[in-house]
């Protein structure tokens, strides 16, 4: 499913490495452009140089330097991106958890199997929280029992505390996930304790997991905005992310829980976090509630992030805005990454098939625009 098959483009423009096998996780190229990391007030002229120059210069006669600038701009925008991106599929957990209709265990298992065949290497299988809070995932143990036998794929499961962790380990989980919030008010309203208390809880989980050699994935929620407090300072996010990382999480996923982020708020947040946690340990988990997730993912890639969480068919609404959408759809993310020439290992058509399967059972339409378009369009229009 090479998105650019058969097109006569200059290869250098599209950054497709022909015959490239080694997939480096972090491929940031330093370009020989002026260093913009100067103190406040230094490069003001750069900020509106492009704006002013567009209006003042006479573009009828193009000078070589403006061509050069353009090519450099293009280089910065799409050529410094990671060669490979790992997609973490959260549909069976984050997706189904936020759907109104509960899906029977065999359907969940079938969904997970289909997602695995599409090439996804990490699929969040379920959550060991109390069924009182999340009835949709009450069958966590049963799902885990079947899923643990599938090899070659990681199946992290959510464990909010030690009790959940013990249940998960007993059910055969080989990877767990813990959730902390960057916003105090959200932490209190969502898991009934302050950030500090939750981190203490998770520390216990992390220690227990370490003893059993079970890797732990950390999530930070409300990294841009909180439904209660409003905007969240990036330093809070950096603090929580660092704590999770120091506790032993092999990866920290930064979640824009209510989807209000735009590249304007995501970039400062990522800058803050990346200064305390290595970028290859970070993942981004954007919600598409305001339609902003793909542009947020794009700037994250430009910043060097190479792990993206998404949910097949955009499963999972937003509990804070009735009827609004939640997770970004895996199909849309894969479509964009394919178009950028970034390897994901994921077969788009098979993910679309998995999405169709689960949407039929949930009785809802796919939340993925790419899936909707591709399933209704004549073959020739999807030549790209």
């Amino acid at each position: 499913d090479n998105a650019i098959e058969g097109i006569q483009f200059e290869p250098h423009l599209l950054n497709i490495g022909v015959g490239e096998h080694a997939c480096r996780r972090r491929t940031y190229q330093r370009h020989p452009v002026s260093n913009r990391a100067t103190p406040v007030g230094g490069n003001r002229h750069v900020l509106y140089a492009s704006y002013l120059s567009q209006n003042q210069q006479n573009y009828r006669s193009f000078s070589a330097s403006s061509d050069q600038e353009r090519i450099e701009a293009a280089n910065r925008i799409i050529h410094g991106l990671p060669r490979c991106v790992k997609i973490v599929e959260v549909g069976p957990r984050d997706g189904l958890q936020n759907e109104k209709n509960t899906v029977p265990t065999p359907v969940k298992i079938e969904l997970i199997k289909r997602l695995v065949t599409s090439g996804l290497s990490v699929v969040e299988a379920t959550s060991f929280v109390s069924p009182k809070w999340v009835p949709q995932l009450a069958d966590a143990k049963d799902v885990m029992e079947v899923v643990r036998n599938i090899t070659g794929v990681s199946f992290p499961v959510l464990t909010p505390n030690l009790k959940g962790f013990e249940a998960a380990a007993a059910a055969g989980a080989k990877e767990v996930a813990i959730f902390a919030s960057a916003s105090e008010a959200f932490s209190k309203s969502n898991i009934n304790c302050s950030i500090k208390e939750s981190l203490v809880r998770y520390n216990d989980v992390a220690l227990a997991a370490q003893k059993r050699e079970i890797p732990v994935r950390g999530y930070v929620s409300c990294v841009v905005g909180c439904p209660v407090e409003g905007s969240v300072p990036p330093s809070n996010v950096a603090y929580v992310a660092k704590e999770l990382y120091d506790m032993g999480c092999y990866e920290v996923s930064l979640g824009d829980t209510i989807g209000v982020g735009t590249p304007g708020t995501v970039v400062p947040m990522l800058e803050a976090v990346m200064s305390v946690v290595p970028v290859e340990k970070l993942a981004v988990h954007f919600h598409d509630t305001y339609g902003q997730s793909l542009s947020n993912i794009l700037v994250s890639l430009q910043m060097g992030i190479s792990v993206v969480d998404s949910s097949v068919a955009g499963l999972g609404g937003c509990p804070y805005a009735q009827g609004a959408s939640g997770n970004v759809a895996t199909e849309d993310v894969v479509y964009m990454l394919n178009g950028l020439g970034i390897k994901t290992g994921v077969d788009l058509s098979k993910v679309i098939a998995a999405g169709e399967f689960i949407c039929k059972h949930l009785g809802r339409q796919s939340g993925s625009k790419a899936a909707t378009a591709l399933s209704k369009v004549t073959a020739s229009a999807s030549k790209l």
């Binding site: 998105a3 750069v46 916003s183 969240v232 300072p233």
Partner: protein, 442 residues
């Protein structure tokens, strides 16, 4: 706690009483309450940029504190880092005001909506842990335009592709509401034969019915000289012509080759020049064609240049079937920008595959400053039944405001316009922003 959408358009907690504060050397009206100490240091530091910015923004609009997060990313990023590093300096010089440092419970001062102004966050959030904010290499291109013009195509491109036909009065009212939200260019209608586009058969009545505002333009589509003459007779002051970058699409859509269509449009443009009427050019299928597949950037550049040379003041590059991704869009823009100045270009992305906002973002990064969009994402895709078409203006404006880019568009009023037309079309909004914002608890 109640969440309300603040009039700053940026954040969604309660809005306090307006109050006067000194920002740099100017007095500004601020719409959200923030303790003076937290403001003082941050505002002094960004005072200069703020003054310049206040000159560029409309003087009628109060400089809400919500405007501050709209500062360009370069500044934000650097400010954040330098602010964190210099907290220690501030303490030593005695300027530091630790309003919350001892309080372990509140990591975030609840009334402070502008995170970057909170000087003490290093302390309270990290509990005295020394957070090292290294200067990161500037990986992302942040030379974004300060101002982006949003060209609203809903009344034409949107309604043209909707199943239900809307009465003339509703169209006129929609256009008025769009103008009221601050949009300065609203594509009003199209003078094509009603046989092809029955939804816009009332073109003349619409154009005659809209109230003309001083700085607002109402381009209308004119596929040939006859349509142009009808448009002029109805009072049009700006027209638009459409050419395709793909030969097969041109043949199947307007029944002639690209060259023949360009010849037609040369007649229109020379007639327009005689009348002193502006012309906007559109190039369709700039990334992909429903018949041919991928379209080579050089063809797009050719058609764009032809349109530009014949006198179009702006060329809008349209990804007609929405298949573009940033990987395709950037080479295409590179090719076009080599022959047409960037300030004469606009981008017109369709959200059929959900890629529009990402494409718009890279276009901004490349230096494009005009974006076409359709209120509520009106207009489905005629090539994929049930799929979406135009990108929704509300979503675009949300992103632009979040990037600190001025648009002069009021998101709340824009959503009103979207609400209005969706009610009449009896369909849900195609804008995720509008859906999310109207469903939040009031």
């Amino acid at each position: 706690a109640e969440t309300r959408w603040c009039s700053c358009d940026l954040h969604f907690s309660g809005c306090g009483d307006p109050r006067d504060l000194f920002v740099g050397f100017k007095r500004a009206r601020v719409c959200c309450p923030i303790p003076r100490q937290a403001l003082g240091r941050g505002l002094r530091r960004i005072g200069f940029e703020f003054i310049h910015r206040s000159r560029m923004s409309s003087l009628e609009e109060p400089l809400g504190l919500g405007d501050l997060p709209k500062l360009s990313i370069n500044r934000l990023g650097r400010f954040c880092q330098s602010a964190c590093r210099s907290t220690a300096d501030d303490r030593s010089t005695g300027n530091y005001t630790p309003s919350n440092s001892g309080n372990n419970q509140t990591l975030f001062h609840s009334t402070s909506h502008s995170w970057h102004l909170q000087g003490q966050y290093t302390d309270s959030s990290c509990n005295g842990v020394d957070m090292e904010f290294r200067t990161l290499p500037q990986k992302v291109s942040w030379d974004l335009p300060r101002f982006v013009k949003v060209v609203e195509v809903g009344p034409r491109d949107g309604l043209q592709n909707e199943k239900n036909i809307v009465p003339t009065s509703v169209k006129i009212e929609l256009i008025h509401k769009l103008v009221a939200s601050g949009l300065s260019v609203v594509e009003a209608t199209s003078f094509v034969s009603p046989r092809w586009v029955p939804q816009l058969a009332d073109a003349k009545d619409v154009l005659e019915g809209i109230q003309h505002a001083p700085n607002v333009r109402f381009p209308v589509l004119t596929p040939n000289l006859r349509g142009f003459e009808a448009a002029v007779a109805a009072g049009a002051k700006e027209v638009a012509v459409f050419a395709s970058a793909s030969e097969s699409f041109s043949k199947s859509n307007i029944n002639c080759t690209i060259e023949e269509s360009l010849a037609r449009y040369r007649d229109v443009t020379s007639a327009a020049k005689k009348h002193g009427i502006r012309i906007r050019g559109y190039v369709s299928c700039v990334v992909g064609c429903p018949v041919e597949g991928a379209v080579h950037p050089s063809k797009v550049a050719y058609v764009a240049k032809e349109l530009y040379d014949m006198g179009c003041v702006e060329i809008s590059l349209g990804d007609t079937i929405g298949v573009g991704t940033p990987g395709r869009v950037v080479p295409m823009l590179e090719a076009v920008m080599a022959v047409v100045p960037a300030d004469k270009l606009a981008v017109h992305f369709h959200d059929t595959y959900g890629q529009a906002l990402a494409n718009i973002l890279v276009s901004l990064q490349m230096g494009i400053g005009v974006v076409d969009s359709s209120v509520s994402g009106l207009g489905g895709c005629p090539y994929a039944k049930g799929a979406t078409g135009n990108v929704a203006t509300e979503d675009v404006v949300y992103m632009l405001h979040g990037l600190g880019i001025e648009t002069n568009v009021d998101l709340g009023k824009l959503m009103d316009a979207g609400d209005y037309i969706c009610k009449h079309l009896d369909r849900p909004s195609g804008s995720k922003t509008a859906t999310a914002l109207c469903r939040l608890t009031a």
